[in-house]
Symmetry: C2
C-alpha cells in the first residue's frame, strides 16, 4: 500500500459507499436482485434518496459494482484455496462454502441472467482468472497421461471428441500450458460443481431427503481419484 494516506473525506466516502453496498446486499438477500431499490437503501441508512447519487451513478451502476465485487470475491476465494494447497477438492469445498455463505451473491453471478443486462467487461478477466486457478490446480493434480482417467474419462468416444475439440478451442484457457486432457477435466469439474450447487442453492434438493453435501463430496472426488 504505497498510496498516500487517504484524506478524511476520502475515508468517509469509501465508508459510506461500503455501507450502501452492504445494505444493497441485505436487500438482494431479502427480495432478490430485481427488488433492489435505491430509495429503500437510503431510508435504511437514514438518508434521503437522492443522496446516493453522490456515491453511485444510479441503480445500474450500483448493481454493476455488486456484480464486480461478487466475481472478485470468488476469484480471491479460489486463489486462497489454491495457495492453501488442498488440491482440487479444496477448491471445490471453498467454492461451496462461498456459495452457501451468501446464495444470492452466487446467483448474482451464475443465476438467471436478466435479458437486458450486460455484465461489466472486466468481469471477463476475473472469470478467466478463476479458470486459470482451476487449471493450475487441475494440472498439478492430474495424472501424467489421459489413460489414467476412468469411465467418462479419456477412452470413451465423446470424451475423446471433447479433448480434441478443446485442443483447438482453448480461448478460455488463455496461454495456460495445460494439455487437452487437463482442459477437459477442469471444464467437467467446473460444470459438475455448478450442477450440484445451483440445484442445491435453488432449493431443489429440499424435501428430497438426502444431504446435498454427501452428493457434493462424491462429485468432488469423482474426477480426481479412481476406483
Amino acid at each position: 500500500m504505497a498510496a498516500g494516506a487517504a484524506s478524511p473525506r476520502e475515508r468517509y466516502r469509501s465508508q459510506v459507499r461500503a455501507e450502501i453496498k452492504a445494505r444493497a446486499w441485505d436487500q438482494i438477500a431479502t427480495a432478490g436482485a430485481s427488488g433492489l431499490s435505491l430509495n429503500a437503501i437510503a431510508k435504511e441508512l437514514g438518508m434521503s434518496g437522492p443522496a446516493l447519487y453522490r456515491y453511485f451513478g444510479g441503480r445500474d451502476d450500483l448493481i454493476t459494482e455488486l456484480v464486480r465485487d461478487a466475481y472478485r470475491s470468488l476469484a480471491d476465494t479460489f486463489g486462497a484455496a489454491a495457495d492453501a494447497g488442498t488440491g482440487l477438492s479444496g477448491l471445490a469445498r471453498a467454492m461451496r462454502h462461498w456459495a452457501l455463505e451468501d446464495p444470492q451473491r452466487y446467483f448474482l453471478v451464475y443465476g438467471t441472467p436478466v435479458p437486458g443486462y450486460r455484465a461489466p467487461d472486466d468481469t471477463t478477466a476475473t472469470a478467466r482468472e478463476i479458470m486459470a486457478t482451476l487449471l493450475d490446480v487441475c494440472a498439478a493434480e492430474a495424472p501424467g497421461s489421459a489413460e489414467a482417467d476412468g469411465p467418462g474419462g479419456a477412452g470413451t468416444a465423446p470424451a475423446d471428441a471433447l479433448e480434441a475439440h478443446l485442443a483447438d478451442h482453448r480461448d478460455w484457457a488463455g496461454d495456460h500450458p495445460a494439455p487437452p486432457h487437463v482442459l477437459r477435466r477442469a471444464l467437467a469439474y467446473w460444470t459438475r460443481l455448478h450442477g450440484v450447487l445451483s440445484l442445491e442453492l435453488a432449493g431443489h434438493f429440499t424435501g428430497m431427503g438426502f444431504d446435498p453435501e454427501v452428493l457434493f463430496s462424491a462429485e468432488c472426488e469423482g474426477l480426481t481419484r479412481r476406483g
Copy 2:
C-alpha cells in the same frame, strides 16, 4: 377425452387464457420473470388491464400457472423421450432441446429463486414424476452391479458413501425399486446435466471458444459407458 363438449363460452375462455399466457411468456423472454406486467400483457392483447382479472386472480396466480406449465412440459418431454427408447442420452438430449427452446422457461423452474415466492405444491409431484422417469431409464440402462462403474463410480470412497447415504435417504425416489447404485447414477447424471445447461443458458460459455454441445455430449455419456 370423455368430457362433454365445451360450450362456446368455455372454448373462448380457454383460448383467451392461452393467449394471455403466450404473451406472458413473450414478456418473460424479453424482460425476465420480474418484468412481467399484467397491464403490458393486456395492452398487447388489445384489451384493458382489469380485463385480465376475469382470467387470473392476479399477477401471482398467472406466474404460478406458468411455473406449473413449465414443470408439466418438462415432465412430458421426459416421458416422451423415455417412451422413444433412446436411453439415458436420449433423455439428456431431450432436456437440452427443451431448455434451449426457451431458456427463460428453464430458468423459471431451475433459475434463481425469488426469495418470497413459493412454487405451487403440485409441482413437487411433477418434479418427482421427472425423477421417476429418470430412474426408470437409468435402471434399464445400468449395469447389473456397481462394480461396472469406473472412476468416480462405486469403488471410490465418496461414491460408496453417497450410495450408502442414498440407500437410507430415498424419499425423492418414492417407491421406485431402483437399487442404490442406480439412485446414485441417476442423481449424478441429473446434476451434471444441469451443470452444463445452467452455465450454457446463462451465457457463461460464450466467449470461451468451445462448443457447449460437445461438452454436453461428453457429460451425457460419461456415466453411461465406460472407457
